[in-house]
Symmetry: C2
Subunit: 267 residues, 2 copies
């Protein structure tokens, strides 16, 4: 527990990068995508599946490169996803070295980790709503902390015992409320003009962060590993700490870009 | 050979749907996506991998539904891709029924088959350039036919013997030139204002169609099946006939939407 808290404090400077935004935030997301993908691919190697690190790095670089030149160009990002599928498919042509499983693991690693974490940059680029980037971590970590204490105090009914034995339904409810309350508080202090939207994002984002957590656990379980890495003492790898953020980031982005910006549903 | 030709003639009416565009073309793409995905998933079952048909059908429906309401909304399509990854990840939570492999196969099937074939609809919706949809099949089938005869006449050096034993480098060159020439002819007759762009799309589209063909073969090989189905006598399944189209469709779309429409590079 002590190591966990010290590690958590050591990660606080990352918040400065989130605050600065722009290239600083992009650098942080590149690092998380890079290390997370590496950990994920190494996990697959425990199952005898051999994704291509090289293809992963090149495609990660291309995503941030095109976004640097033409920020938030959705058409180019779609083209990048198509390119990921095509380039990873090329791996299979060397059928002695790579199986379709290797190609598929490379595709999924790129989309699930690199593309998902990239959404924090996209939120930062949404002009008027770039503050919503804070909700990505408020929803994820707010839910995490509230779920932990609610579960500890009231937890009785297991949520998903075969994937995450300590999670309870009571904890989940506490997490949802915690995500909503923390985000409401954030809205009250930072953006009172859309405080209601913040609360909605926080509540549903908290639920989605739990799915992110369980997804990373499900992969880990099948890979036969306990942690994705040992980069952060007491927490495990980048993927162990940021698994929930990976899912909340796209949720917050599309809520902001589609519901709030495109359809102008703001409250 | 006779069955092949009769079958090919029976498929000509599909060209009417391509010509009509709009809902007719969407219906055709839904059918190809639906049957193709089914065949692909059944192939995986030969490897002991069990993708979820139900998730596949629901996500296919959602893609065409949102595109019906808000055509070519790239942000919504990106959100759909994120939703595909998240919803397929939920499958793993029932760890007795589904493994991460099942979830990944469902994701890849949806993106590679449903999303890729959907690009024909997107081209149809590009207002001024909707005629480019013809290049999807001209590049793919033009290259196919030219490659076949060039290979037959001049073929000496094997291209990729472990995946597709009959393909030769001479055939590939014939296919590239054939795709380019057919598309040039199409541009001359239909859209002389951008005849050069047509030839470029045809040439590179022909190359990409070969990658599409080899990709489908690589999956098949690992699945241990000869054909994806027997829907089209002499050709196999939908996936055996449309494997090359799956790759040319997104290429033609992004070339049209990004190079021609966004950057205005037209010649």
């Amino acid at each position: 527990m002590k190591t966990r808290i010290i590690s958590a404090i050591c990660m606080l400077p990352l918040l400065i990068l989130l605050y600065l935004g722009g290239y600083f935030l992009a650098a942080l997301c590149i690092a998380i995508g890079f290390i997370g993908m590496r950990e994920f691919f190494n996990g697959f190697r425990h199952m005898g599946i051999n994704p291509s690190d090289r293809v992963g790095y090149v495609m990660l670089f291309i995503l941030y490169f095109i976004n640097g030149l033409w920020p938030t160009h959705h058409g180019l990002i779609l083209a990048w996803i198509v390119a990921v599928i095509m380039v990873c498919s090329l791996l299979m042509f060397d059928s002695k070295k790579h199986t379709p499983m290797d190609a598929m693991a490379t595709m999924v690693g790129l989309i699930y980790i690199v593309f998902f974490s990239f959404h924090v940059v996209l939120i930062d680029e949404t002009g008027g709503y770039s503050d919503m980037k804070w909700l990505v971590i408020i929803a994820a970590f707010g839910s995490d902390i509230f779920a932990y204490f609610t579960g500890k105090l009231l937890g009785k009914h297991k949520l998903c015992p075969n994937l995450s034995p300590h999670k309870t339904i009571e904890g989940l409810i506490g997490g949802l409320l915690g995500g909503g309350i923390c985000s409401l508080l954030f809205g009250f202090l930072i953006c009172p003009a859309y405080i209601g939207s913040c609360a909605v994002i926080g509540f549903f984002g908290a639920g989605i962060s739990v799915l992110g957590d369980l997804t990373a656990s499900a992969y880990k379980r099948k890979m036969g590993i306990k942690d994705y890495g040992n980069l952060i003492p007491g927490h495990g790898g980048i993927m162990d700490r940021f698994d929930s953020v990976l899912f909340t980031a796209p949720f917050v982005y599309y809520y902001t870009a589609i519901v709030m910006e495109h359809f102008q549903i703001i409250f």
